[in-house]
Symmetry: C2
Subunit: 527 residues, 2 copies
């Protein structure tokens, strides 16, 4: 089935842009900034480079030392072990299905060299295909929370309905560029069948690119197979249309379910993300330089495995740095030290010439309150300033990633909008210097009505959909709402007016038939 | 009167450090990070340089064009006009007490050259004296709000009691380095006597450095005279012990009350801050490059006046960039475009080799909610990343600077603590690379108990006094508080345990006598 059958010829006219032009002028509605809407961001601000050459080399050398002297442990995947052995790794068998592999200095880095520095992930709406790498940057919803948090603090297990609602919110904002993967865990669906409903929901309720399953190699295969139905096999064979988001088992372990999943995606020429989830002081040194070295070492090994599987397969270096409340042992997120670490990971990724996934709107708060956004912005500024390309966890993150929140999702999305303005940078030209605005009235004259103001005011400043700009008196008369209550109104209105993007009926039926068949083939499993 | 009489010999042992060592170990109390406490920050992270040389030169040339072709309007201060005329300005009389002065390209910049790139403001507790300029950075409370905002949204006029309470909060946190000036307007005190109570309150309830009055030249003189009582005339004659925070009347006007105030401080060898308060699209071009050029032009003129008055007098270049809700005409704060402008102002200040005041914890929100901290961090990250030296508005700012909030004050202060950790940067050494932590247990082993963790955990991560790190269950059992409610508890507890720093009785009496005499000399004036 050819991809042109299902793709409306919308290239250059993505849904969001069309909506922007249908709306009345800026003066009528909040939160519309059509001039900032893009399928992916092209970063116009420089990266914020924290460390000098010498320090970066020391971190790279430490990563090499980890790989050469301590090694990586592999479990339950002799094929992967054999591939690394053939590539030059020194294998030591530790048990029945456990091996340690050490790598000569520079070997793993050399194996990463065939991975593309930049690639395209094709979306079913081609106008929403995204670039990953270089100066391209995309914001992607959060990933992996089992719970939903209500604004009153109630916490409950997430369901498929929550999963689909979050997809609809991501589809409806111009400030997220990708539908993500396990936006929350649909815990009402059996574990071994969950991936089918998740992939289908991404396809059905979004026309963005998305991530597939990684919890078992056969689920990865199902995810890719569903893409063959959606895109046609030719397209899948020649493009990256789906990716898997894989975690190492830090410190320094890659387990077999994961490495087999990585190989499944790579064999199909699909993309993968290689993430060490590093809780400082728990699974990585409590000092950030050590976390950076370990993160680089573990992530490069994942990338190297993709290249041994299929040279040129898209792969993303990744870093998730966090700190710990060493009083309680609880992880903490959105703190200053990991923000610095993220800046360094950006430098390291550029030196190895790989796309980077890094940081996001992290928070430990249980409510979408002042703490949640203070921590999120601290974390997210590092993500964008380090030049990360694939910014997972850009929307919805609360409770140390244990919970998603609809309110936080739209607050974060609005921040992502502000970051679209930030990442455009500051243009210096005769027109933006605007001396004519000053000349027109001269000293002491206000500029509301100058020709320069009239030419620029509609596009001068990002207009938030959620922030309250009103004078106190107007805000008081309007009921004194806070950001959380506005966020509740916002997400509920968005869902009420949501319309699914068109999907070819024949494809829809074929996907549903595939899912039914796969579900019939196995008993429900709940863990 | 010698300064040693009133200064306890505390150099090297500031109050805060002493308190840190008296406290039990980290495991017992939240929010104690004695290893981060300093009288002023020495920035260890690089500045985030947004623009290239060519763009910076264009902004500087635009500033020169403004000064050479449009000129600055001066009002009600013929002495200042005469000083600029003698220095080479081209004066055009516009009215009885109004003049336009144009300046040859480069003239104003050349006049700024004698201002010190870095200087010390002496505090009455010498251990709390601050450095201003270069890689030194201080956080200073907000300035100028007439109102106080309660957590329920009630807004009321601020009083002297509020003013003193805010001073006590600033005195009690290790994360603010200066007592500020008009932290709020004590509206229950007559306008013409307010400055006496304000300066006295700074002296009485804080041992930090502080700002004096700028609302009239004679009030500036009173402020300096009170410093002579406090420090002794010798100290005042030879040091910067007080500063005035002056605003131009943008666009492109310096009024006589202000220029006479600037001259009053400079004549006494005291410091001054030269701030264009630029509301985008209202009093400055709606495009940020133009705002930067205008900000530079107006601020340099203020600095130049100090140098004509007394070469070598301390002076601070300043920038306050904001945007506007062009639908309502309301100013907006904490938005992305002014954050970019702040980064540029940092570059411009370094090129002219002057200390910079820039940005702060800006917000338009009426509550200390998610919006307030999202905006604040966006703004504040630019302040610290641009390398600003004197960061006014670091604590308390809500409602577009119309209102102060006790809750926001402590939330902001806690963020300033996190920024102390951020500004220390990321150290790369064998010890911080911590390979021994990874070697000790090897792959798969947790690191809670490694020797490396034990050596570093107490100082590894900033410990917030306000953020909730607990698991949801514990937070739920504890009553589900939000950041705002924790902030209320925090500031009330701080005030309950506040102790005034010691002040010599004779000085106290002399200050009170001076105030009484000055108050008796004039009728109350309320505007």
């Amino acid at each position: 089935m050819a991809d042109t059958d299902i793709m409306a010829p919308e290239a250059g006219k993505p849904t969001r842009r069309t909506r922007g032009t249908r709306r009345p002028a800026r003066s009528a509605a909040h939160g519309h900034n059509p001039w900032l809407e893009v399928p992916y961001i092209t970063r116009k601000v420089p990266t914020y480079d924290l460390l000098d050459e010498e320090s970066l080399v020391r971190i790279e050398e430490a990563a090499d030392t980890i790989l050469a002297e301590i090694g990586i442990e592999f479990r339950d995947d002799p094929v992967t072990v054999e591939m690394f052995r053939k590539a030059g790794g020194t294998v030591t068998k530790l048990g029945d299905a456990t091996w340690n592999i050490r790598f000569d200095r520079g070997l793993i880095r050399a194996l990463c060299a065939t991975a593309p520095p930049r690639f395209t992930q094709v979306a079913r709406n081609r106008a929403r295909s995204v670039e990953i790498g270089g100066d391209a940057m995309i914001f992607v919803p959060s990933y992996g929370s089992p719970f939903m948090l209500e604004p009153n603090g109630d916490r409950r297990y997430a369901t498929l309905n929550d999963f689909q609602t979050l997809i609809k919110l991501a589809q409806s904002t111009p400030w997220l560029h990708h539908s993500g993967g396990t936006i929350c865990e649909p815990t009402d669906i059996p574990v071994n069948k969950r991936h089918l409903d998740m992939v289908y929901s991404h396809v059905k309720y979004s026309d963005h690119a998305f991530l597939g399953s990684i919890t078992a190699p056969e689920r990865a295969a199902d995810s890719i197979e569903m893409c063959r139905i959606l895109f046609g096999s030719d397209v899948v064979d020649q493009n990256c249309v789906i990716m898997g988001n894989f975690n190492s088992t830090s410190p320094l372990v890659w387990d077999g379910v994961t490495t087999r999943g990585i190989r499944t995606y790579a064999e199909a020429g699909q993309g993968s993300i290689h993430l060490p989830f590093l809780l400082g002081g728990a699974v990585t040194p409590v000092t950030m330089a050590g976390s950076c070295a370990q993160s680089l070492a573990e992530s490069m090994v994942g990338v190297a495995l993709t290249q041994l599987t299929k040279p040129g397969a898209p792969a993303i270096l990744a870093a998730f740095l966090s700190s710990l409340d060493l009083r309680s042992g609880s992880p903490t997120f959105g703190t200053p030290e990991p923000a610095l670490g993220s800046l360094v990971m950006g430098q390291l990724a550029r030196r190895i010439n790989l796309p980077l996934r890094c940081s996001g709107n992290f928070s430990t708060s249980k409510l979408p309150d002042a703490q949640s956004m203070s921590q999120s912005v601290m974390s997210m500024m590092a993500a964008v300033q380090c030049g990360a390309n694939f910014i997972l966890h850009s929307a919805g993150y609360l409770d140390g990633l244990l919970s998603m929140s609809y309110e936080k999702f739209v607050l974060d999305s609005d921040l992502c909008g502000a970051l679209h303005a930030y990442l455009k940078g500051l243009e210096v030209s005769d027109e933006t210097l605007g001396l004519d605005a000053l000349r027109e009235g001269g000293p002491g004259a206000h500029m509301f009505g100058t020709q320069h103001t009239l030419r620029h005011y509609e596009h001068a400043y990002y207009d938030s959909a959620l922030d309250d700009y009103r004078p106190w008196e107007t805000w008081d008369e309007g009921g004194r709402g806070d950001a959380m209550s506005r966020a509740t109104t916002r997400w509920q209105q968005t869902i009420a007016s949501y319309e699914a993007p068109p999907l070819d009926d024949a494809i829809d039926e074929e996907l549903l038939a595939f899912i039914a068949k796969r579900k019939e083939s196995m008993e429900d499993a709940w863990h």
